[in-house]
């Protein structure tokens, strides 16, 4: 049995008086695809940000990829993010003045050295080989999200996080994005954690957890 990619014990997060995440014990195995569901304000994004090293826990332990995140410095967390995690947001969050390929290269630049050929290849993998030079404003929502996926996987992360990555997409684009993620995971063997409001999207995962008011209330295994 290998070490789980994500392991939390009594993990909490509070914002002032608000307790966004009540003590949470969670394990996500290497290569697993976990879906996170729950109504608005239930703490899904909070959990995501903690696991992605974008925010710090208020209490409990949090280990991702064998690293104790609460022990890392600010720059240590940045390093963890660029080396270990790929993140896809609901809003596309691309740099508006850079072309698709440059947006992907930006991630390489922070990670190590930009490599245009490799960035091109990543965009080809997400089916955007023909839109390399376009700026985000010239791409459709689904295309932008695929650029984000290419950017998220370019540095071969061990963990891919998506906070409602298909929230703004129509059904067809959603299926396309999920299909793409599934393929990429099959090839690159990374762990996936996807936040979603949509049962159908959640069903693409191996397991779904349900949060309610910061508490893990239900868990459903779909496949192993």
């Amino acid at each position: 049995m290998t070490v789980p990619t994500i392991q939390t014990a009594g993990l909490t997060k509070g914002y002032g008086d608000i307790c966004a995440l009540k003590p949470l014990d969670l394990q996500v195995a290497e290569g697993e695809w976990l879906s996170v569901m729950g109504h608005s304000g239930s703490g899904k994004s909070t959990l995501m940000n903690l696991v992605g090293g974008l925010d710090r826990p208020s209490g409990g332990s949090l280990s991702v990829g064998g690293q104790d995140l609460s022990a890392l410095s600010e720059d240590g967390l940045a390093r963890f993010r660029r080396e270990f995690v790929g993140i896809i947001f609901q809003q596309h969050h691309l740099v508006p003045y850079l072309s698709a390929v440059e947006n992907v290269m930006l991630s390489q630049y922070f990670h190590s050295v930009p490599d245009e050929a490799e960035a091109r290849l990543a965009l080809e993998r997400v089916g955007l080989g023909h839109r390399l030079k376009n700026r985000p404003g010239e791409l459709s929502g689904g295309e932008q999200q695929r650029v984000c996926i290419a950017r998220a996987i370019i540095n071969s992360p061990k963990l891919l996080l998506g906070d409602e990555p298909t929230g703004n997409l129509d059904h067809k684009s959603t299926v396309m994005v999920l299909e793409l993620l599934k393929e990429l995971r099959a090839e690159d063997r990374f762990t996936v954690v996807l936040v979603t409001h949509n049962e159908e999207v959640a069903a693409w995962g191996d397991r779904t957890i349900y949060l309610d008011d910061g508490v893990l209330v239900r868990e459903e295994r779909l496949r192993s």
Binding site: A78, R79, F110, E164
Partner: protein
Amino acid sequence: MLFRILKNSFLKRPKAVVLVFISIAMGAAVATAFLGIAGEVSHKMALELRSYGANILLEPAAVEGGGYLRETDLPKIKTVFWKYNITGFAPYLFGVADLSANGKKERAVVSGTWFAKQLEVPGEEASVQGIRGIAPWWEVNGRWPEGPDEAVVGASLAKRLNVGLGSEVGATVRGRAARFRVAGVVTTGGFEEEQLFAPLVTVQDFLGKPGQVSRVLVSALTVPMDDFGRKDPNSMSKDEYEKWYCTAYVTSVAKNVEEVMAGSRAKPIWQIASAEGALLKKLNAVMLLLTVLALGASASAVSTSLMASMAERSSEIALMKAMGADRFQVAAIFLGEVLIVSTAGGFFGYLAGNQLAALISHSVFNSAIASPLWLFPTAIVSAFLVALAGSVAPLRRALNIEAVRVLKG
């Protein structure tokens, strides 16, 4: 990649970039202009001040026994090491004589001097030396003497003798006699108003002291005295002495002149020299202060416009952070932009500042100035300083952006 980011970000936000560029260029321009004319201003001011009197007095070293200096040594003053700092000089030969005019008798000092003597020194530029050059504030009612028997009479002596323009004044001393025609009556506000001034040769003849001079007043451009300048040259090491000699302290220029005038001793006339130095120091301080203020103002303008563009770019920075950019990488992008803009701003500021300096110099002093070589690096460096100072607050803000809050979905 950094280059691509910078290039695209410039192209995307030309207004913000131009704003920062203008702030920096203006600061650099003002700094260039001020610093460029500062040297010019102190030089010109020194010249103006210099016209308020001589600052070195040459006397015979042996005071007893009525020592005298030699008139033939005078041209050598134009050949000394500091000759270009010496703006003028005038010799004097004094004697007390009995004067009479219109039946009135007075005992007074008769002073032989140069008024405006054409001086030709082999190997040097011809110049005009004398009282008119070193004491331009003397007010002459009438005109300066031209003939050998013409004189100007101090206003108060003229009153006592009851003489005016065209009067004749008789003078006797130890059985010798001379007659002077009054060409002008002079008001100086000082002891000179009690004297009669006539051409040096005439007075030498009258007093029976051919070729002799009692004292020489020299007007020289000098640097303000400092602690080193106040040290006793006799106790200096060879190197120190050399440095002292090669700095235009009033004492070292005096020493310089003393060396060419046989049997002389040179004394700085302190009050004027030090007041002048202090004034120039203040003037320079004011120029520097204005420069610093201008740079400060442009730094705060830079800061303001960077802050504004920072607000606009916070999501972009948050995104970079989420992608794993650490503080150093964020700062590199930010400072890279600032560096490029400030180099360009410094360059254009330098060009504009030079024009400005030329304009100011032309309209205030009516002269062209040569901009010193160090001005260019100074302009660039001050642009950098302005940019860096203006970047502190925006950069801190950029580094403190919390990715989570900005990117909230």
